[in-house]
C-alpha cells in the first residue's frame, strides 16, 4: 500500500533527477558546437534554451547568449526551477518526503548528490571548469541511478518513480528534436554540409547517442536515421519508443498489482503501439514538427492522467 502523496513524490523525484542530468547533457552538446565552430554560437545557445524550455525566462534576465550566461542560468540559477541546482534540490526535497519508500542507499545517493552539486554550483563557473562541472552532474545522477536500480525492490514504488523518469525523458528527447527539426528535414537543399553535420552530432550528443548511432547505422550521419533512432528505436535508451515501452510496462505492472486497468495505461499503450506501427518516412510525410508537437502534448496528458488515476493530489 502506498500513499497517493508518496507516489506523487516518487514520480517528481525521478522527473527532477532526470531533468538535472538532461540539463548537463544539453549544455554539453551546446558547448561542443560553440567550441568547434568559429561563428557566433548564440543561435546554438538559444536552441539549448528552447530545448530546456527556458528561453523566455532566460531572455527576461539576460541579453547575451553566451556560454557563461546560458550555463549559469541552466545550471546554477535558483530562480530557474529547472536549473540543475534547483532541480536536484526539488528532487532531494521529494526524496526527503518519500524517504520511507527509498532504500537507504538510494536516499543517501540523492542526498549526497544534492550536497555535492550545491557545493560545485555555489559560485559562478569558470569556463575552463565547465566540462568538469558537467561531468560531476552526470556522475552524481549516474550514482543515484546505480543505487536506485541496484537496491530498490521492483514494486509499485519503483513503478511510480520510473513513470517520472520516462515521462521526463520522453519530453526532453522530443523537445530536443523539435527545436532542431528543421535541420532534420530531407527537403533542405544543403543537406550534408558541415554545418548540418555539427547540428546532427549535437542532437545525438545531447542524448548521449553520438557513439551508439554508429553501432546501429552507417558512419555517415543521415537526418532520417537520426530521427528514426531517437523516435522509433525501442533499444535506444533515450528514444521516445524506449520511454513508452517502459511507461506502458510500468503502468501494466501497476494495473496488475491493483487489479484494475487505468486510463493512463490505455494512453501509454496507445502511444507505444503508434510508435511501433510507424515508419520514419510516415512521420516525415505527415510532418515531423506536427508529430513532435502532438507527442509532447500527449506526453503531458499522460502525466496528468497518472496523477489522477493514482490519487496524487
Amino acid at each position: 500500500m502506498l500513499l497517493g502523496r508518496t507516489a506523487n513524490g516518487l514520480y517528481w523525484m525521478n522527473r527532477y533527477i532526470e531533468r538535472t542530468e538532461n540539463m548537463a547533457r544539453l549544455i554539453d552538446a551546446g558547448l561542443r558546437i560553440a567550441l568547434t565552430r568559429s561563428q557566433d554560437a548564440s543561435e546554438e545557445w538559444n536552441s539549448v534554451l528552447l530545448s530546456a524550455g527556458a528561453a523566455s525566462a532566460f531572455a527576461a534576465k539576460h541579453n547575451d547568449y553566451t556560454a557563461e550566461n546560458v550555463a549559469d542560468f541552466l545550471l546554477r540559477d535558483m530562480s530557474n526551477p529547472s536549473s540543475a541546482v534547483a532541480a536536484i534540490e526539488t528532487a532531494r526535497n521529494n526524496a526527503r518526503m518519500v524517504r520511507t519508500a527509498l532504500t537507504r542507499e538510494t536516499w543517501e545517493s540523492i542526498n549526497e548528490a544534492w550536497m555535492s552539486l550545491k557545493r560545485v554550483l555555489a559560485s559562478p563557473i569558470d569556463q575552463r571548469e565547465l566540462p568538469g562541472v558537467l561531468d560531476a552532474i552526470k556522475r552524481e545522477t549516474a550514482l543515484i541511478r546505480g543505487s536506485f536500480y541496484g537496491t530498490m525492490l521492483r514494486n509499485e514504488i519503483f513503478d511510480f518513480a520510473q513513470l517520472g523518469t520516462y515521462v521526463e525523458r520522453a519530453d526532453n528527447t522530443a523537445r530536443i528534436l523539435d527545436v532542431k527539426y528543421y535541420v532534420l528535414l530531407p527537403s533542405i537543399s544543403w543537406v550534408g554540409s558541415s554545418l548540418d553535420n555539427y547540428q546532427w552530432e549535437s542532437i545525438l550528443r545531447s542524448v548521449a547517442a553520438h557513439r551508439s548511432y554508429r553501432w546501429v547505422y552507417e558512419a555517415e550521419y543521415k537526418p532520417t536515421n537520426i530521427a528514426e533512432y531517437l523516435i522509433l528505436n525501442a533499444r535506444m535508451p533515450r528514444s521516445l519508443s524506449f520511454s513508452y515501452r517502459f511507461l506502458a510496462e510500468h503502468l501494466k505492472f501497476l494495473g496488475e498489482d491493483y487489479g484494475a486497468r487505468h486510463p493512463a495505461q490505455e494512453i501509454a499503450e496507445r502511444t507505444y503501439a503508434r510508435l511501433r506501427g510507424t515508419e520514419i518516412k510516415d512521420i516525415f510525410e505527415t510532418g515531423l514538427h506536427e508529430f513532435l508537437a502532438d507527442f509532447i502534448r500527449d506526453n503531458n496528458r499522460l502525466g496528468d492522467q497518472v496523477a489522477q488515476d493514482f490519487g496524487f493530489y
Partner: protein, 470 residues
C-alpha cells in the same frame, strides 16, 4: 561547586562502569580518535540526520553535534532508574485518567483545582473520554539528571510528543560502525529493537473491535518540521506509513488515508502534531496539519491517538512540582525517583524567595520548552536578572524556579583531549498493556565548558548511552 564526574569523580578515581572503556581508550592514538570524530559527522550528514532550528534566518538543516565518548551506566544503576521511571509513568497515566474523569485528586485537595481549570494544556474535550486500553500517554521521555553517585532526579516529564529517540538509535548505529571492536570487548545492552517495541506497543492499544493486525501510521506536520527526520525514521523502522494531514480524512466514521488505490482505514495514529493542530473542527480552526473531524472518530472509539490529546496537563511545569504528591496518591508509595525542589512563583511566599535569590536559581516558564525563555541565575548578567525580575513580577504564575543543580559531567573529546561537560539523560518509555523501557536513552551534553544548557537548539550535543549488561 565541583560537579560529579561519571567517569573520573574528584576523589574516588575511575568509576567501575568506565573501567573497560578506559582500558581501551588508553591504547588509542589521539589522532585516530579525532579522525573518527570527523567520520561520525560525515555519517550523520550523509544520512541526513538533521534538524531545523526555528527562528534562524536561514532555515537550514543542522547537525546535532555527536561526541564519540559514550556515557556509561551500570546494569545496577539502570535497574534502579527503571523502577523509578515505571512508577512515574504509571502515576502519570492514572493522573490523566483521574483528571479527565472523577478528579479524585482535586477532591482530596492534593492538587489545587485552579491549576487544572485554568491550564491551557487541560482539554475539556477530553472529559469523560476513555482512550482505547485506557492508556493516555503511550510514549514518554523522562528527563533525568544526576548530581552524585546515588542521587538522580527527574527534571521534567515529556508526556506529549517527546522527541530524540532517533538520535538514541542513530548514535548507537554510528558507534557500532566506528568502533566495532569496543562492542566485542564490552557487553552493552541493545537498543536497536525500539521501533519493534514501539510497534508492538501501539498495536496493543488498538481500538476495541479491531481484530488482527491494526493499521498504524505516523502523523508528521511535514518535511519542514524540525523533527521530520525522526518521524520518517520511526515510520520507516516500524514499517508503517508516514502521513500528513493532507493525506487524511474522515470516511464513514473512521480516519482514512489517501492511497494509490483509494482511501484506507487507519486504526492507530502515532501523531507528532501538537494538540492544538490535531483537529481544526475542535481546536485551532486555521490548522492544516491535522484531520478535520478526527476528534469525533476518537470519541466514538474508532481510532487510537498516541499520545492521547490532553496529556500535556501531566507534564506541565506547574504540575511537575506536585509529582511527588501525585505519585504517592496513585501508587500508594513514595517516589523512587525524586523531583528537583521547585518553587511555584504563583505562591506569594515562593515568589518572594525567588525574587530574593534570582542569582542562584534557574527560572523557567511553566509552558516553555527547549530551553527558551528561561533565566539561569548564576550565568545571567545583572541587567538580565533585573529584566527577568520585572517579567516575573508581572506574571508570577507563569514561572517556576529551581536551584541550579550541578549536573553530573561526562568527558567529551575536544581538540585538547578529554574534558568534562554537563549531561542529562532522557530514557524512552512505552506504555500499553505493559511498560517497556529500552536500556539506554538520549544523553544530551552541553558542549560549552561550564554550560548547563543541554538543549540541541542551544548548542547541546548528544552521546551514545550505554547500559552495561553486567
Amino acid at each position: 561547586m565541583v560537579a560529579f564526574d561519571e567517569m573520573l569523580p574528584a576523589e574516588a578515581g575511575l568509576r567501575r562502569p568506565y573501567e573497560a572503556y578506559d582500558g581501551w581508550l588508553k591504547n588509542q592514538d589521539p589522532a585516530r580518535l579525532t579522525e573518527k570524530m570527523r567520520d561520525a559527522e560525515r555519517v550523520f550528514r550523509k544520512t541526513g540526520i538533521t534538524f531545523a532550528v526555528y527562528g534562524e534566518q536561514e532555515a537550514s538543516e543542522r547537525l546535532i553535534p555527536f561526541d564519540i565518548v559514550p556515557r556509561i551506566i551500570s546494569g545496577n544503576e539502570w535497574r534502579r532508574l527503571t523502577q523509578g521511571i515505571e512508577q512515574r509513568v504509571q502515576a502519570l497515566n492514572a493522573f490523566l485518567d483521574d483528571i479527565y474523569h472523577r478528579q479524585e485528586i482535586l477532591r482530596a485537595g492534593r492538587v489545587p483545582r485552579e491549576l487544572i481549570a485554568t491550564n491551557e494544556a487541560f482539554l475539556p474535550e477530553m472529559i469523560g473520554v476513555r482512550p482505547p486500553a485506557g492508556v493516555y500517554t503511550h510514549i514518554i521521555g523522562v528527563d533525568i539528571v544526576r548530581i552524585a553517585e546515588n542521587e538522580f532526579y527527574v527534571l521534567e516529564d515529556n508526556a506529549r510528543t517527546p522527541s530524540g529517540v532517533s538520535y538514541m538509535l542513530e548514535n548507537r548505529e554510528t558507534m557500532l560502525q566506528l568502533f566495532p571492536e569496543l562492542f566485542q570487548r564490552i557487553k552493552v545492552q541493545p537498543v536497536e529493537n525500539y521501533p519493534q517495541l514501539l510497534r508492538q506497543s501501539l498495536a496493543a492499544v488498538r481500538p476495541n473491535g479491531v481484530n488482527g493486525t491494526p493499521t498504524i501510521a505516523v502523523l508528521t506536520p511535514g518535511s519542514f518540521n524540525s523533527a521530520y527526520f525522526e518521524h520518517a525514521f520511526l515510520a520507516d523502522q516500524m514499517g508503517v506509513q508516514l502521513v500528513e494531514g493532507q493525506d487524511l480524512r474522515v470516511v464513514d466514521g473512521h480516519v482514512a488515508m489517501r492511497t494509490t488505490e483509494g482511501y484506507k482505514r487507519i486504526d492507530v495514529l502515532y501523531r507528532r502534531v501538537d494538540d492544538a493542530y490535531l483537529d481544526p473542527m475542535t481546536f485551532r480552526p486555521d490548522s492544516t496539519l491535522g484531520v478535520p473531524g478526527i476528534m469525533d472518530v476518537y470519541r466514538a472509539g474508532n481510532i487510537t491517538i498516541a499520545n492521547a490529546p490532553g496529556t500535556g496537563i501531566a507534564d506541565d511545569k506547574a504540575i511537575y512540582s506536585y509529582m511527588p504528591e501525585i505519585i504517592e496518591f496513585y501508587t500508594g508509595r513514595k517516589p523512587i525517583l525524586g523531583n528537583i525542589p521547585t518553587w511555584r512563583c504563583s505562591e506569594p511566599d515562593s515568589l518572594k524567595y525567588v525574587q530574593e535569590h534570582l542569582g542562584e536559581l534557574v527560572i523557567k516558564e511553566v509552558h516553555g520548552s527547549g530551553g527558551y525563555g528561561m533565566l539561569v541565575g548564576p550565568a545571567a548578567s545583572k541587567k538580565e536578572r533585573e529584566e527577568f525580575s520585572k517579567k516575573l513580577a508581572a506574571r508570577p504564575s507563569n514561572y517556576i524556579a529551581q536551584p541550579t543543580l550541578s549536573l553530573s559531567t561526562c568527558p567529551i573529546l575536544t581538540e585538547k583531549g578529554l574534558a568534562p561537560r554537563h549531561v542529562d539523560l532522557r530514557p524512552f518509555v512505552l506504555v500499553s498493556d505493559r511498560i517497556r523501557i529500552v536500556p539506554g536513552g538520549l544523553t544530551r551534553v552541553a558542549l560549552k565548558e561550564g554550560s548547563l544548557v543541554v538543549n540541541s537548539s542551544q548548542g547541546g550535543g548528544t552521546k551514545d548511552t550505554w547500559v552495561l549488561d553486567d
